[in-house]
Structures are given as structure tokens and as C-alpha cells.
């Protein structure tokens, strides 16, 4: 019974995270200005990381955790570089 509850909650959580990914992707596509698109990208990678964590719980392997950690690292660097680009017009000066 509790195993069924866990598997259904995994499916529900993955559906919710997929919907959140869709929201962030549509803000990234139709954001009126550049900073809206960058906020959409930030939300997108965090939601993708949460989705990878739920996939890791579902499959019972710790491989997904490392992918989630790499996504968190690369996403932070990407968002900071894009914010720097919006501020100054170039990333490395």
C-alpha cells in the first residue's frame, strides 16, 4: 500500500515538475525582454534538477544525483554570465 502511494506520488511530482518546466520554457520563449528570458532559464534548470532528483528516487540509483549537481553548477555559471552580459555587453572584460 505504501509502495503504491510512493510510486503514485513520484508520478504526480514528475507531472507537476514537467508542467513547471513548460511554464519556464514558455517564459523563456515569449519573455518580452532579455532579462525575462534569463529568469526563465534560471527557473528551467532548477526545475530540471528537481526532476532528475525524482528520477533518482524512482530508479533507486545515485547516478542521477551527480547529473543534478552538475546541472546546478553549470546553470549558476550560465545565469551569472548572462546577467553580466546584460549589464556590461560583454562577459569577460
Amino acid at each position: 500500500m505504501s509502495a503504491q502511494v510512493l510510486s503514485w506520488s513520484l508520478v504526480v511530482a514528475q507531472a507537476m515538475l514537467a508542467l513547471a518546466l513548460t511554464c519556464a520554457a514558455s517564459r523563456m520563449l515569449w519573455g518580452p525582454r532579455a532579462q525575462d528570458r534569463v529568469v526563465g532559464l534560471d527557473t528551467f534548470y532548477v526545475n530540471a534538477m528537481l526532476l532528475l532528483l525524482t528520477l533518482g528516487i524512482q530508479s533507486g540509483r545515485t547516478l542521477y544525483f551527480e547529473a543534478a549537481l552538475v546541472i546546478a553548477l553549470i546553470g549558476f555559471v550560465g545565469t551569472v554570465a548572462l546577467a553580466k552580459f546584460l549589464m556590461r555587453g560583454e562577459v569577460i572584460e
Partner: protein, 127 residues
């Protein structure tokens, strides 16, 4: 293969509740990002998902793997700490860039419009 088969009932239920709560918070934040009106309102909606959502989902993962392997598996704390530390940094950089761009263009999309204090800082005070 489902790990829920070997999990005891309390751990499975706790993991399920934490997962649904975290995913619901992330969904709420992303809906706020989609629905709110201006950029300065939109920029703080996803932080709901990045702080509490990440905390709930990573603690669900930590509980699940700790019970499965019968030893403390705490490497999800890494993700939690990293996301919690970096989210304010990225959003502050982004909002400063957006303020800079709005001031450079002098649009009325800023909070308070062109009458806000940010634009008037370089003007001499009225007599």
C-alpha cells in the same frame, strides 16, 4: 525496479509527502513566473521553488536513500546548500542588470515608473 518495495511504510509515506510538497512549490513558483505582470514581480516568484522546493525534494531523496542503504546518505545536502547560496547571488545580479537597462532606456516599466527615487538620484533637490 521500484525501491518502494523495500522501504518501510513510514519512510515511503514521508518521502511521498515531501516529494509532492516540493514539486507543488516548484510548480507554484513557475506559474508565478508565467502569470505575474512586470519583471520585478516575476523575478521573485521562482525563488519559492529554488529554496523550499529544493529543500523538500532533496530531503525526500536523502530519507529514501538513507533508509534503503541503512546508513546516512547526506550528499543531497550539497545540492541544497549550493542552490540556497547561489540563488540570491544570481537574482541580485540579474535585477541589477535589469535596473541598469531600465535606467539607461528610462522606461516606465520600473517600480514606481519614472518618478521612482532611482531615476531622480542625479537630479538636484527641488528648492
Amino acid at each position: 525496479m521500484m525501491p518502494g518495495m523495500e522501504l518501510p511504510a513510514w519512510a515511503a509515506l514521508l518521502t511521498a509527502v515531501l516529494l509532492v510538497l516540493g514539486a507543488g512549490l516548484a510548480l507554484t513558483g513557475s506559474l508565478g513566473l508565467l502569470r505575474l505582470g512586470s519583471f520585478y514581480e516575476r523575478v521573485h516568484a521562482p525563488t519559492l521553488g529554488t529554496t523550499l522546493g529544493t529543500a523538500f525534494v532533496s530531503s525526500a531523496s536523502a530519507i529514501c536513500f538513507s533508509v534503503l542503504q541503512t546508513r546516512p546518505v547526506l550528499h543531497e545536502i550539497l545540492i541544497l546548500v549550493f542552490i540556497t547560496v547561489t540563488t540570491p547571488v544570481t537574482l541580485m545580479l540579474l535585477v541589477r542588470a535589469a535596473l541598469f537597462r531600465d535606467r539607461a532606456e528610462a522606461t516606465s516599466m520600473m517600480p514606481g515608473g519614472t518618478q521612482s527615487r532611482g531615476v531622480r538620484t542625479h537630479r538636484p533637490p527641488d528648492p
